[in-house]
Symmetry: C2
Subunit: 460 residues, 2 copies
């Protein structure tokens, strides 16, 4: 017994936080795979091969939402509830839930565990990280609960055919799927029935954005609120550079995406719609494609150029340390700032009165280019193994890497190689390209570079 | 008169070599456009709108080979000869021809002009650049002449139906189109009749590679030859880092491209072919797609994955300071080295016992990423304006940017916006993304950074 615990200590000593986090995700996938294989959660008639069940496990833990089998046919109601629980685990992340669990059970959180949280929450300082995780967790739960009740009441009042229990189920499902950006379609029609209900869509958009903007942003906004309404404190509240960048690029890509979708479909799908519906639909898809994966209509209604735009938005993805995936907004944002600075003949990359560090630029360059390389290789591989249009393949790859979960309907008919490619993309997309790279850098090498400058920005 | 020459002096003083070179290309396009508009070079029945003629002018000067009108219908024999002359101008470059012209007319070449040549030939030192240009020009001309005669003799002996004059014409056309990487198809069947003639194909591949490997490589190889057979000189001959990189990456992309094409078509087009034909066809297309644009078969015979591979090879393009275009082999090579070094946890990028400078890495990153951005935007624009498959659009964009000139047959049916997009891509692809960027950096700013390290590598 003693030798085992000594061996475990040695493993822990030589393991970096990132290696532990990636291992935890992998372990979670194995557990999910085992659970989803149990007959208890499945319909007796439903058919799902081990590869399809593994695909489902990765899709659930990465909160992507791509499925090779119809959920309703393969899984029973227990299975659906299990999936909803797993969305929380996948969306909020293993470290957040482990921390909350330890707080509830009044276990002591060791320095090593705090370091792990610090890395996963992308915090520059070790102090206050546990409190941060706890408050973000509370906020996410409160949001899901509050909007679950709001949506349930709304569905009950609006639809004559729903009894209150059904309305409650659908309300909570919508709230959970929006906040955790899960995007799994269990009803078969996603949000199609509510496509003209702008106030409802507005709240869904807000929840999607809250989920994708990143936990550090939520935590700092909370601190700012507390600071503003605490008259005893003096001085000025200073948002971190990361939070400024995350909010700036989230807003930029959201608005730019909506404008481009609006223009692309002006003479297509939007031609016969009133202006309000055009604007609302464009805003909705700009938010949803970045990571949630909810939809109002059949995607095949859109023009090819719009589907390419969707692919681009899915590839960009959400903020780091959020429920989303992809190459991450701040990462692509820093690369764009770097290119802009070069064109303007500037040596440094400056924004919000701060200089972005050379290390961060280097990481952004590597993450974006390796992500492009990975997705490009995936498209090439799929083009060799699948008999589908290039648009559908690019869409599928971007959707998997961005953990968005939208599809042009080819997921079910993918070949074995195709399914494995998508599984790898979902995993890397959720864990993040930078984590994947740092997985192979030993603890010693990482600690040599551990002294960060104070205003380091989070990449990937 | 005096005030005009004074104004000209002032313009020259404030103009960087790159600005002059880009302006010269632009002037050349205007002259070509004017010439191609003359009835003297055109068939009375041929129809070509001013936009189509301008498209033709840019395609000729950039040595791309994409055409929106059938050459044989619009232009008469004089027109075809004019095009062949313009290939030389476009392929060898304005500075090379201007230098040779000045040497022939015994004009003095000023320091300013020598600086211009130095930049266009990507030479680290000012001394010896005129001699370099002259010797490279001689080599290119000798190659075209020598292989023109070889090919003419070969065609005459092989084909019963050709008289000697026709064989001579076709032989020289093949030689010129291979060395200058022009790739315009005047016969309508490209190299299809000779697809089983491996020795002939071998020589065509060699000529394509010679044209695309870069003038500085040719010049240094010539110096090395002179050094080897000059017993008076002592010591060791040292190739520059640029030449080593250019040769290394040209070889790497050539072999890798051929292997991938071979594998992609193993169960497609190559399925029923003997091994020798498989290998030869794969080698031929790996060389031709990178910039020449010659073809042996209908491109629609290839599988979608192979067409994507072709697009990738076209985007990569040839060496800097060569007859080719694209993002350039050394540029993408340095980016790949950089990514590899990062993954291996190395701070520096080392190859051939040298460290690649931070400036060069920065330029490579910017050039590749801006090129991807440009081509991505072009594909998006074309997807909005054209009714073609995404594969055909990506292929067309890569072909224009790589100045390759292969097409899946959509060039003629492009919309006005589509034609303009392709014109812009051909121009930037030939001039190079880095030149386009440096176009807007003033002479003062450039001179501030003019002190290069000795082993600077050429980007873009
Ligand atoms: K999702
Ligand atoms: K060409």
């Amino acid at each position: 017994m003693k030798s085992i615990s000594r061996a475990w200590l040695k493993v822990r000593e030589n393991t970096t936080p990132i290696q532990l986090i990636v291992c935890a995700y992998f372990g979670l996938i194995i557990i999910t795979f085992a659970l989803l294989s149990l007959p208890f959660f499945r319909n007796p008639a439903g058919v799902s091969s081990p590869l399809d069940t593994f695909f489902m496990a990765v899709s659930t833990v990465s909160v992507t939402g791509l499925t090779t089998v119809p959920i309703n046919e393969v899984y029973n109601n227990y299975g659906v509830v299990l999936l909803e629980i797993l969305f929380q685990v996948g969306g909020l992340g293993v470290t957040m839930l482990a921390t909350v669990g330890m707080i509830f059970t009044r276990r002591r959180i060791s320095l090593h565990q705090r370091q792990l949280i610090q890395v996963d929450m992308n915090q520059p300082r070790l102090s206050g990280t546990v409190r941060l995780v706890y408050s973000v967790f509370g906020l996410m739960m409160a949001l899901q609960l509050f909007f679950g009740i709001i949506f349930a009441g709304y569905f009950y009042l609006k639809s004559d055919f729903l009894n209150f229990k059904e309305a409650l189920f659908e309300g909570f499902y919508t709230s959970i799927t929006a906040v955790t950006n899960a995007g799994f379609d269990i009803t078969g029609s996603s949000l199609h029935p509510y496509r003209h209900d702008y106030l409802f869509l507005f709240f869904v958009i807000v929840l999607i954005i809250v989920g994708g903007i990143g936990f550090p942003v939520l935590a700092e906004l909370r601190e700012w609120f507390l600071f503003r309404f605490n008259t005893k404190k003096s001085g000025r509240f200073q948002f971190s550079l990361f939070v400024k960048l995350a909010v700036f690029f989230a807003a930029l890509f959201f608005v730019l995406g909506a404008v481009l979708i609006f223009l692309a479909e002006l003479q297509g799908k939007f031609a016969s719609q009133p202006l309000s519906e055009k604007v609302m639909t464009a805003l909705f898809y700009s938010a949803s494609t970045r990571n949630a994966g909810l939809q109002l209509d059949a995607l095949t209604d859109f023009r090819p150029v719009t589907l390419l735009l969707f692919s681009l938005l899915m590839f960009i993805g959400a903020s780091p340390s959020s429920v989303g995936g992809g190459v991450r907004t701040t990462t692509i944002g820093i690369l764009l700032l770097y290119l802009y600075s070069f064109i303007r003949g500037r040596k440094d990359v400056n924004i919000f009165g701060r200089r972005i560090g050379h290390d961060d630029i280097q990481k952004a360059v590597v993450v974006v280019n390796l992500s492009l390389l990975l997705c490009g290789l995936a498209v090439l591989l799929l083009a060799a193994t699948e008999k589908q249009s290039l648009t559908a393949l690019i869409f599928e790859v971007a959707s998997a890497f961005g953990t968005t979960g939208l599809s042009l309907g080819i997921t079910g008919s993918l070949s074995v190689v195709g399914k494995i490619v998508i599984i790898v993309l979902m995993f890397i997309g959720r864990v993040g390209m930078l984590y994947m790279l740092m997985l192979f850098i030993s603890k010693k090498e990482q600690e040599a570079n551990y002294m960060y400058p104070v205003e380091q920005v989070i990449i990937g």
